[in-house]
Amino acid sequence: MLHIECPWCGQRDQTEFSYGGEAHIVRPTDPDALSDAQWADYLFMRTNPRGRHREQWCHTSGCRRWFNVVRDTVSYEILAVYRVGETPPDTDAAAD
């Protein structure tokens, strides 16, 4: 069980949260201009790093806000938590 620090509610158990996949995936401003391969890349292709991963979590059973987490996929250690719209903190070259 992970303990996750919600940016608003503080530390809560993982069971209160939902996972939302990789963070900082920007929707293309002009989807019509993309090729099928580019659109598929935006929709489906995600990094799968061994190490630090920026990802989205939602405090589903609490304040229901989305926020970002930098988590190590090997140790599961949570290195940083930051709100949507905030600059990702520097956690020694977090993987993009």
């Binding site: 608003w8 059973s61 806000r65």
Partner: protein
């Protein structure tokens, strides 16, 4: 036109109200609940809520403006639960806010019939709740003036500590989960 009989969500649960050793569980039915969305930095919005419901919105996470209606509970950085003494007051409050804040970016929804409240009191109230909840419910950490949204035996609830000396807590639960949660709490109390 036939009259619709209003029944509380927990009217059919056997054993409620429950009075055991150092634990009491009762349903506090037919209260007014208003879900409120809006920007806390918008003074017009805050003033209208103060004038209409008579409460000032708490801005710190997981705090409440009081323990008994009328009071406002923090649910998110732009979301609150207004608790009012009765369902009629909730309907009046929503109408008054809609009128006072026409054109403002906000939402007030009367959810009185969607939720109910279970009040647990007595020396063992927090011990019973701790069986189904991972939060620290010690009165020194979670006392009057605080509130929390969390899971209680897998049901999504809002916890509101009361100001009484025995450390009672009110549990705000959705109507569809109320029957399950009440039966779970009754079992946990025995």
């Amino acid at each position: 036109m036939s009259e619709i009989e209003l029944r509380t969500p927990l009217v059919a649960v056997p054993g409620l109200p429950y009075r055991g050793r150092d634990i009491e569980i009762v349903e506090v039915a037919s209260q007014g609940h208003v879900n409120l969305r809006g920007a806390a930095r918008n003074a017009v919005f805050k003033d209208a809520v103060q004038a209409t419901a008579g409460v000032s919105l708490p801005l710190a996470a997981n705090t409440a403006s009081g323990t008994q209606p009328p009071c406002a509970l923090w649910l998110g950085p732009d979301e609150w639960l207004l608790r009012l003494p009765g369902e009629a007051q909730a309907a009046t409050c929503v109408d008054a806010l809609d009128a006072a804040l026409a054109g403002e970016f906000f939402a007030a929804s009367d959810i009185s019939s969607a939720q109910t409240v279970l009040r647990l009191s007595g020396a063992h109230a927090r011990r019973v709740l701790s069986k189904g909840c991972t939060l620290d419910l010690h009165p020194g950490v979670f006392g009057a003036g605080r509130c929390a949204q969390t899971n209680m035996a897998q049901a999504t609830v809002i916890l509101l500590p009361l100001a009484d000396a025995a450390g009672g807590i009110e549990v705000v639960v959705r109507r569809s989960f109320a029957d399950y949660l009440a039966r779970w709490l009754l079992d946990a109390s025995r």
